[in-house]
Every structure is written in C-alpha cells, then in structure tokens.
Amino acid sequence: MEKRVTVKSEREEYRLFRSRAIVAAVLVFVALTLVFARLIFLQVKNYDHYTTLSKENYQKRIPTPPVRGLIYDRNGVLLADNHIEYVLEAAEDDVKDMDRKLKRLMQLLPITPQEIKKFKQKLRVNSRFQPVVLRKNLTEKETAIFSANRFRFQGFNVSVRMRRNYPLGSTAGHLIGYVGRIDKKDLETLDKKNYKGTTHIGKLGIEKQYEDRLHGKAGWELTEVDAHGKPQLKLDEKAPITGEDLFLSIDLELQLKAEELLAEHNGAAVAIDPRNGEILAMASMPAFDPNLFVNGISYANYNALRDDIDRPLYNRALQGAYPPGSTIKPMAALVGLSADVVTPTSSVYGKGYYQIPGNRHRFRCWKKAGHGNISLNRAIYQSCDVYFYDLAFRMGIKRYSDAMKRFGFGSRLGIDLPHEGAGIMPSAEWKRKKYDKFWYPGDTVNTGIGQGYFTATPLQLAFATATMANHGRKFKPHVLRATRVSRNLPPKIVTPEQLPSLGVTKLRYWDDVIRAMVNVVHGTHGTARRSGAGAKYQFAGKTGTAQVFGIAQNKEYDAAKLKKKLHDHALFVAFAPVKNPRIALAVIAENAGGGSKVAAPIARQLLDTYLLTPQQKEEISEQNNAKNTDESPSLMNINKLKKKKELERKLKREIQINSPLTTAPRT
C-alpha cells in the first residue's frame, strides 16, 4: 500500500505544489501592491504634507531681536541709548564636570550662591544646547579675569547683550520713561512674531508711547537642527531692522534748570513752544532713576519709591490735578470779554469780599482791604478776586465752563505720552453726575478764581498760556519732534497738529488781557514785578496761589500754624517774548506759599535759560555771584567751574543736528 501511495503521490504532489505556488505568487503580488499603494499615498498624495512636517522637524527659525532706537533731546543730546552688557553663560551640553567648574568659578569671580542656584534651576528647564546666564553685568575687570582663565572653563562664555541705559539718570525720567521685562500683560497686546527675541518693552513715558517706532523689526535666522535640537548650519537669514531714533522737543538745558529750581520743593514745570505745541521742558519733582527699572527693580528700591510721601513715581506735570488759582484769571477775563459780560473799561468795586446778591456768605479777596474801584487790566495785574467772582457769577457756570474748556481745561489734550490727566472743569451737569448734588451759585463764584472744584494739570496751564500767547491759535502739545529711520538719513520733523482756534476774533481783547499780563511782571504794581525786573525781553505772566486747606469764614490763613503739606501751592504762568512768543510755561511749587514769591522767580530763570544768549547768561551769573558774599571768591570760582563743567558734560551733543532741526521758526 505504501508503495502504491508513493507512486501515485509523486505526480499529484508536484501538481498540488504547483497550484499552491501559483496562488502564493498571486497573493504576494497583491500584498506588495497594497504596500506600494500605501507608498503612493505617502509619497505622491500627501507629499506636501510630509514635506512640511519634515521641514518643521529640522528647520528652526530663531528670531534675532532688533536694536532699540535711541532717544535724543532737540539738540542731539543723548537721553536713552543701549549699553553693551557682558554676561557669563554656558549651555549644559558644552560643559563637562559642571559642579567642579562652578566651584572654581566662584573662587575666581564674585559669584554668589544665589546666582549658582538660579543658574542650575534654569539649566534644568532649558534645552541642553541653550546657553543659560550665570552672571549678568560683568565688570570689565571680571570680564578680563575670566578671559585670561577661559581655558580652564571650557563651555563657559562671555557674551554680549544690549541693555537700555539712561545716561542722565533721573533727568526727565518721567518723560522718557523706561523699558522693563516683558510681562504677561504685555504679551496680551504685543505682536508676538516681532517680539520673539525681545526681552524688554517700553513701560512708561516716551519708551511706552513710541514702543512701535523704537522697537524696530525683528529678523530671523533659519537654522538646520538635528533631532536633539543642536544647530547644524545656517540656511537663511534676515537681518533685523533697528528701531527709529527719536528726537524729543525737550531742550535739555531748560529741563535741567527746571529740575534744579524745583528740587527744593515738590512740583512741576511745563514749557511749550506756542508756535507749534512742542514741549520744551516737562519737569516733575521729585524724580526717579529709570535705570532702576530696566532689569527689574528690587523690592527694597520699589517700596522706597512707592511709599515715599513725595510720590516720586507720579508725574506731576502730566497727571497732577492742582487748583489753578489765579493763574486762570487772564483766560477768565478773555472769556468774559468775548461773552460781553465785562468790557475792557467796565469796573467792579472791590471791597475785600464778594457776596452773591441775597446771600450773606462772604467770598474773600486775598487783599482784605479791597482793591476799590477796579477794571479788567488792574484786576489781572493785582489779581483781584472780587472782579472774577463777579465775572463768573454774572456769566453763569454753563457759559463760563464751556468757554474755559476751549482753553483746554477739563479734558485731555492728547499729548503723546501715556497716563495724561484730564483735570476738572466743573459744571452743574458734572457735579450732578459726580456727586449727585445740585450746583450752587457759590460753586460758580469759586470756579471764577480757579478754586473750588476746578483743577488743572501743569500741562493744561502751560497749554492755556500758550494759547493766550498765540491769540487763540492752538497746537496739540507733543514731545516727539523728529524721527530718524537710519543714521545716514536726516531726521524727519513731525508735523505739528493744529487744533481748531479759540474763535475769539476781536484781536483787541487778546491784546487787553496780554497787556494786563505784562503789567503783572513789568508794571509798578504787578504782583510779580520783582520777577520781571531787569529782564532782557518783555514777558507776560500771572501769579497764582492755590488753597490746599479750606479756611473757615472767620479765620485767617496763617502759614506758620499750618503743616507744610497744607500750605498753599505757588503757581505762575508766563510766556515770552510778548511780541512773537517762543515759550509759554507753567510752574507749580507744592506747598511753597505765594506764587509771586516762589513760582515767579523760577519761571523767570527758566525764561532766561531758554531765551538769553550764552553771553547774557554769563553776565547774569556773574552778577549773582557778586551779590553772594557767603563764600570766598576762590571757592566760589571752583564751585562755579565745577558746575559749568558738569552742565557741559550733561549737555554734550552726541550728534550734530542738521539744518531742518535747528530752523525752529514756524508761523
């Protein structure tokens, strides 16, 4: 049987195998075709998709941050620049035996254990190839020491970074502002693509306002990286575009002078060029050093600034709402004239106080004895309160308030700085909204002399004064004067924005009020006649003394008995020269007493600083020195020389401004 089966199977088995082999061959073909179909799907149909994924894998776009634009004053004096900062850094992957090297580095350089701790924390978080900073702000000596020992610390590197620097420290600190580390809040608004490599952003002042222009455009480097993130070679790059340089309208000499003069008080001074709205100086004292904020201010420093009773972080010039007091009398007079409430010749009898008809309340004049029969001109230069009580009362709060608003009171002027204050130009409607109370006629009376609810910022006062100087022509106040896209191009002047004019068409009214303001400083009975004496130019001004503390009906103001914080604010507004004015300013010295005694002399010195030629200034300073007998002449000279040198150093012009910037006149 076995033999039979074997014989039979030989052929059968071959046939069987053949059929099975053919089936197998077909199945193999089908299976491989299926796999190949998958390959077509991957390589043809989804080719683009996988090409993108592949590029995402190995191409890394590394942002290169732009260099921040510089900030200059109007004459090319540097206010903000970028300093080179040396940092010691290392990537984990490049350092063998990290702990031992750190120990030896601590012996070589004054590295603190905190720095080591922070460094190690960052190492853990970052990629192994990404350099991590061990120590910031290396001194030149430390850099030199490290460089000499570099061979012992393979993997560690000193690299260069840009750090924002404000060479003049606190000078114009409020105005320039500062940059600080980008925080969560910034991230919500900024253009993430453009800020990918940027660490700092403008937080205050010009730095914040013109962040877009200063920042520049980020570039990038396209690098090929391997699977571990290690860069292999540069594929492509786009250079960053440096931010624009800004030229502020600030005259640094004037700014320095204002800060110097205000230093012993708290206060503010704002100077405007009436011809175009350029801010010439904006001082707020006390000030702070913006450099403290650049790399994160320490808690101790911040608390000290924040808790300081004099509030140095607060920009008084821009945000401070002060009762303007008598400084608004010229504007009030003009408003009254144009509303035909008063005429240049109409007069009021000043008997030392004012009473609303049918009311016994006495609104006092600063001059107890009264000014007698008084007309507009004298009411301004002697600052008669009764005249303006009457003017405001007869005009009515609605008309008065609306007209005064056109001088810029009660609303933001739209200066190119963040956090501008609006002040208050009160009205019946305003009071109802704010306090849910009726407006009393007495409120109108107080508003008439810049008291009561009426507050204004120093900027608004300077602006209103400039408007006065300009016979009603208004320019939007601005700090940015010119910009420069490239060092090789001349700066481009920012066109001043003219605002709708005040609309008082009778030139005579302006001249009447201005004549009265001239009398304030140059008249024999002007309240600030002492400050006007000996001026080489004619100027116009108005004193103001703002009450901080309400005096009861039958009490007297006695400075000696009041705390310094409750003393009156001293104010002064002025512009000069009277014909063709080039500067209008407002000065406020907090709790300094009378405007004529404190604020007016400051204003005079500021006008001198801006308007006089260097030779004239020299003469004045010599006269002053001659009067000063406390110091021995030699010591005096040394001090004088030192001071002069210091000023020259501060006013050193980094660049020569081309002609377009120096030709100021604009009509």
């Binding site: 069987l16 195998f17 491989l32 390959l39 390589q43 592949s54």
Partner: protein
Amino acid sequence: MNSKGGSSFGGYVLRWLTSIDLVMLLSLALLIALGSIILFSASGEDARMMNNHTIHLILATIVMLVATQLSSDLLKRWAFWIYIIGIVVLVLVLIQGSMGKGAQRWLEIGSLRFQPSEIMKLAVPMMVASYLSKKSLPPRFKEIFIATLLVAIPMLLIVKQPDLGTALLVGSAGFFVIYFAGLSWKWLGATLVAIIIAAPLVFYFGMHDYQRQRVLTLLDPSADRLGSGYHIYQSTIAIGSGGFYGKGWLNGDQSRLDFLPERHTDFIFAVFGEEFGLLGNLILFTLYLFIIWRGLYLAMKGHDTFARLLGGSLSLTFFIYLLVNTGMVSGILPVVGVPLPLISYGGTSLVTLMAAFGLLMGLRKRKRGYD
C-alpha cells in the same frame, strides 16, 4: 567528504557554478548592492559600519555557497538533529535570560555571540518539510496536528524571549510548509478565522505592555509622537517627504539629522524611501517581487517533495520579511522587529537569509554534490 564527480579542480568549479541559479544570484547581488548604497547613507557614512557590513557580506556569501552544495537528502537527514539542538539552545537561552534582565536573545559561547532563534528560521521549515514529505500528501489531520506542534514549540520559546519578529518569521516558515504540503482550503479558512478570534485575546493576555503599545500606536501614530509613536511618525515623514524622485542619495534630512530612529537597521526602508522616492521604491519592490517569484519557481523545480516544500517556504518567508518590515515602516502594520531582508544592517539575519537562498538555489540539482 570527497568530491564524487569531477576529476580536476576546474571541472569541479564549472560544475559548481552551473549548479547555482545564476539569475537568482545576479538578482541577489543587485539587491545587496542597492542595500549597501543605502546603508552607507543610513549609517551616516560610517566607515567602521561599512567595514563590518563587508565582513558580514563575505561571511554570508561563503555560507550561501556552501549551502548550495547541500543535497536535499542530506538536509532531510540533518533536519531532525538541527531542530532538536535548536530547541535545546532556545531553552538554554531562556534559562540564561531568566537570570538576567529583560530580553535575552543572545547566546554567548566564548567571544562568539549569536541568536539561536535565527537557526530556527531554517530548522523549523526543514523539520516540518522532512516530516511531511515522508507522508502522502495532502496531509491528514493527525499529520497536520504534529506539524503544527513542531512549529508551535520553538515559536512559543521565541515569543518568551521575547522576540515577536523572529517568532513570527519562524511561525510563517513552518506554516508555509504545511500550506504547500496541501493544507485544505477549508482548514486554511478555519485557521484564518481562529487567528482573527485569537488576536484580541493575544492582545490583552499574551502581549507585553510595549507590544500592546506598538499595536495601539499603529492605529494612531500621531497620538504619541514623542513616545511610542515616534518611530512611525518619523518614518512616515521620511517616506512621504521623499516624494516621487526622492531627496537624493545622502540627502535625506530625516535620517541625516537623526530624526529617524534605528535608521540603519529596522527602519532603513524609510531612508531608502526618503532618498530615492517612489521611483526607487518601484525598482526595489520589482526586484523583491522578482526574487520571490524566482524562489517559488526554483522550489517548483525541486527534485523531490522535500525540496519543493522547503523552497516554497523559504521564498514566502522572505516575502513575509519584506511585507512586515515595509508595512511597519510605512505605518500600516505594528512595529515588529523584522529587518528589511538583505538590506538592514546586521550580520546574523544576513547570514541566515543567504544560507536560505543557498539552499534554494541548490534544490534543483539531483543527487549531485555532497552526500
């Protein structure tokens, strides 16, 4: 052993050469050449690796040439003993492994290190073929049962190592013998159904965590592209971004920049696809298909049932290598450690495969050669 035929050395060589299937030899040479070119790129132009590869090739060629000269009668007689030795060694490896940690696939004898499971890729089909060829075919149930047992025992031992890839290949080699012996279509269908039912059971109870993860990864490779899905994610990117013409030799970004893991071993097909594109793949697949078909043809020409069964099984096992590897790398099969045959770097698999081809090429001759 002595030469029975030729009187002179020249005659001996001539006879030897004519006994080899030159068409197959040429195809293999072409494939290996192609493989070496892509290995050079996949190794990162590593000279040492290429030197080793050369040594592997020389060794594999010698083994292949020797294998061509082994007659089927000899193999039939040896099959049983090789199989028994193989089982013993597998058990030894398992014992050695249980003392160590994790996967233990290697047996070390002195300085020699080899994977005993590799022998079973040849021993199992030889054993099953030798058993079945003695019976009248198609096999009856009892014979199928014994044959299945002969396959299952080493397969389970290898799964235990654990080495799913090799177990799969050993199992298919054995299965294909039974298939060629004439396993009825009914039984074949039943087996298929059984596998489909058993698959979830194996998934939940018979798999290691990492194996289970690999299966899950296949279903959605992008779910875990940095973990277990990383291999497939990167290999599909490599292949897909190769496009129609490929990025060019040595220009595969995925492999060059180290994104592709195991690029010179199990995932070398992705390098090939990335650098040579669909066009290259077409050539490669055509070559493979030709070799498999030629193998089946040679098997058919085998002079007895044993030769045919062994030849058919070896050809289809080679196909399984290709299918599992390319399927895995292109992301349609789970990740199983199976190399791309004759191309992936690695001496052991190369030697085994070339030995199989040697046997295949020698099947045609009658009772010539050594006996």
